[in-house]
């Protein structure tokens, strides 16, 4: 690879993303771009999202036009400063395209990154592990303890699709399907937070994870908090994303609506409440939710959890006044437009560790992925 030339690659968002289509470039060839700047809108079969530049520099080339579709990792553009000549860039692009064709063939030959199943605490637990990409024969290098991501009520490990790959650049990251969800067993015991936290510890034991950094969304946040209070020595940091467990109020209509909706149009009205930008509720997102809800045992599991955690539209477990007992760093990340768990609940966390992001709803980790990734990265690296 040539000195000073950086490829802007087609990102991979989520398990099922194999390719993406350029919807719109928000910058032009020749523009100076900076890391974190929104530069291009990309559509996948699941969702449309804005790609934020990973590096700063001059965007010398745009190699994919609006409407073009390419596999993940493909070159969308080139960042290089003016000291690099056009000829060098042309030669680089030619070389890259050759190598990329080989890489794509190799990736297709190799099994795609697949979730795995582990038996833990009497249940099958599905999880997805990602770590820093390493060349063949080299050892995996990662910083500190692994990261464990816990989704919310009715979600699954795919909810972290915009976060897990970014965190996995520096850390080993596990995303877990909690009991009753995704590909894990549908047995949810009493359907309370304690059942979930026991399952998390059983999962860590089964995989030999002595200590992890926890990030939990919504219900998963309450689980993270419960685990951290019960097993403080095994938790490096806790990130609570639009978290349950910090106050009694919760949008009970959303919860019962989600459990009871059987038709696409009913579910759509419910799911829209999750986002600030309701257009993010796509046909595929609804299809995936409907497919999950139709599986044997899911309806019973959801009903049991609804009763066990949120009976009468209130949170059964509130741990807000025990935050001070935690010995590890804790932060709260919230979407300012969260319609499920009141943003005021973030106030249980000291102001310095409280981050409320504008323009995002309950699924802040999808809607403001880059900001959330930066905040998660910071607490993990600093503790």
């Amino acid at each position: 690879m040539s000195e000073g030339i950086i490829v802007v690659p087609m990102p991979k968002w989520g398990l099922s993303m194999t390719e993406g289509t350029i919807v719109e470039w928000m910058v032009e060839e020749g523009d100076e771009i900076s890391a974190g700047e929104e530069i291009v809108e990309i559509e996948t079969s699941k969702i449309t999202n804005v790609y934020e530049a990973a590096v700063s520099g001059k965007l010398r080339r745009i190699t994919m036009a609006e409407g073009d579709t390419a596999p993940i990792g493909a070159m969308m553009g080139i960042v290089a400063d003016d000291s690099v000549s056009d000829d060098e860039i042309d030669a680089f692009i030619e070389e890259f395209e050759k190598e990329f064709a080989v890489l794509v063939a190799a990736m297709e030959a190799e099994a795609a990154l697949e979730p795995e199943i582990v038996e833990a605490g009497g249940r099958s637990m599905r999880y997805l592990r990602m770590g820093p990409v390493v060349a063949e024969g080299e050892e995996e290098k990662s910083e500190g303890d692994p990261v464990l991501l816990l989704h919310g009520f009715g979600g699954d490990l795919n909810n972290w699709m915009f976060n897990q790959p970014a965190l996995a650049e520096n850390h080993i990251v596990y995303a877990l399907d909690l009991p009753g969800h995704g590909g894990s067993s549908k047995d949810v015991g009493a359907g309370d937070i304690a059942t979930m936290s026991d399952a998390v510890i059983a999962f860590m034991d089964a995989l030999g994870l002595q200590k992890v950094h926890l990030a939990g969304h919504s219900m998963g946040g309450a689980v993270a908090l419960d685990v951290a209070l019960k097993h403080g020595d095994r938790i490096g940091s806790v990130s609570l994303v639009c978290s349950a467990g910090l106050g009694a109020e919760i949008n009970g209509d959303y919860l019962s609506g989600f459990v009871n909706a059987a038709k696409r149009k009913d579910l759509k009205l419910v799911a829209q409440q999750l986002f600030a930008d309701e257009s993010l509720v796509t046909r595929d997102l609804l299809d995936d939710l409907l497919k999950f809800k139709r599986i044997d045992g899911v309806q019973d599991a959801l009903q049991t959890m609804l009763k066990g955690m949120f009976d009468g539209g209130n949170q059964a477990l509130v741990l807000a006044d025990r935050i001070s007992e935690l010995g590890m760093p804790v932060q709260a990340i919230w979407g300012a437009e969260d319609r499920i768990v009141p943003v005021a609940h973030a106030e249980a966390i000291p102001k310095a560790q409280r981050h409320v992001l504008d323009g995002a709803g309950h699924m802040v980790h999808l809607e403001k992925a880059a900001d959330v990734n930066r905040l998660l990265g910071e607490i993990i690296s600093s503790s």
């Binding site: 590909g183 046909r283 139709r294 599986i295 044997d296 045992g297």
Partner: protein
């Protein structure tokens, strides 16, 4: 979740229900090995197209029954078994053979609940192959689902893909009323992601497989694939098609169809059944009676001609509604003024 064929999806639905509920049995011509086979080749076939292969090994000869070539006998036996406590899944090899056992289906199984004042239930599933395209000639290629749809007391299911097939068949087996489950021969080798766990898709709930603003296409069974293909092609040209797969013709989700036509103002119905008194005429009547003011163009029906299914391959291909014919119909209603 893994990629499975329509054939594998049907097989998996039966296997999982037989494991879950020991009253589920299967019966039919050659469902295990073929009556004509010599000893020891019980598993040679698993049905003419191999859908029930492997079942006898797991569930034994008491729950996987090869029957004589006597639809009048074994379909009647299945109806009786259902009324007296079992949950039979009977295979009527080709829907075309219904002529000899129709009394057992519509006068007996379909009417038990009504005639016995609700005191009897008949949890019978009849799986049957249908449809043209296999070069199987006019007695093995028909789409007879309108005949069953006509009969109160029967539920009629037309799965259009592997995912649909598994969920709808499990629903059918668990249903307490007689269900006729139509498997299109030309879909058996189509594949898609299908969950490994059992799941159910409710009856009477249409699936909107594409969303567009200009035309509603209502299609059944194999025709849903064709309609999706046309919708994807025309989307690139700026013609938006909503595709509705009703999944079940009885019960029928008329509300979804009417709502979609109210949004698009135009309707194309694609039905592989003979054109008189078929689902296309039924849907057309439903829409013209309930969404007349929304219509911006005459309703267009894409069906075969009113003839037997031809045997000559070239003529059979002309007979079946094709993506090209559907596309032409969409263009015609969009261009109407």
């Amino acid at each position: 979740m893994s990629i499975k064929s329509y054939r594998e999806a049907v097989n998996e639905a039966i296997v999982q229900e037989m494991r879950r509920d020991e009253t589920v049995i299967i019966m039919g011509e050659d469902v295990k090995g073929g009556m004509g086979g010599s000893a020891g080749v019980d598993e040679a076939w698993g049905g003419v197209l191999g859908v029930t292969k492997g079942l006898v090994a797991e569930f034994g000869h008491d729950r996987v029954l090869d029957t004589p070539i006597t639809e009048s006998g074994f379909i009647g036996a299945a109806a009786g078994a259902a009324a007296t406590g079992l949950r039979p899944v009977a295979e009527l090899m080709f829907a075309d053979f219904v002529g000899v056992c129709f009394d057992q289906i519509f006068n007996q199984a379909g009417k038990f609940r009504y005639m016995f004042g609700g005191k009897a239930v008949t949890p019978l599933t009849i799986r049957t192959m249908y449809g043209a395209g296999m070069r199987a000639a006019s007695q093995h290629s028909q789409c007879l689902y309108p005949i069953f749809t006509h009969m109160p007391g029967l539920k009629v299911v037309l799965p259009s893909s592997a995912y649909e097939a598994k969920g709808l068949l499990i629903q059918a087996i668990r249903d307490d009323d007689p269900v006729v489950f139509f498997e299109h021969k030309m879909l058996y080798d189509t594949t898609e992601e299908v969950p490994d766990e059992p799941y159910t898709i409710p009856f009477g709930e249409a699936n909107v497989t594409r969303e567009g603003d200009d035309v509603t296409i209502v299609a059944f069974g194999r025709m849903v694939r064709f309609a999706n293909k046309v919708a994807d092609k025309l989307e690139a040209e700026g013609i938006g098609c909503t595709v509705v797969d009703p999944r079940t013709t009885s019960p029928l989700d008329g509300d979804t169809i009417i709502e979609c036509v109210e949004d698009t103002g135009r309707l194309v119905v694609v039905d592989e059944a003979s054109p008189r008194c078929n689902m296309a005429t039924d849907i057309s009547a439903l829409v013209s009676a309930n969404a007349f003011r929304a219509l911006k163009a005459p309703i267009k029906m894409v069906t075969p001609p009113h003839t037997p299914v031809p045997f000559a391959p070239e003529i059979e291909d002309l007979y079946v509604p094709s993506p090209e014919k559907i596309e032409a119909a969409v263009r015609e209603v969009v261009g109407y003024s």
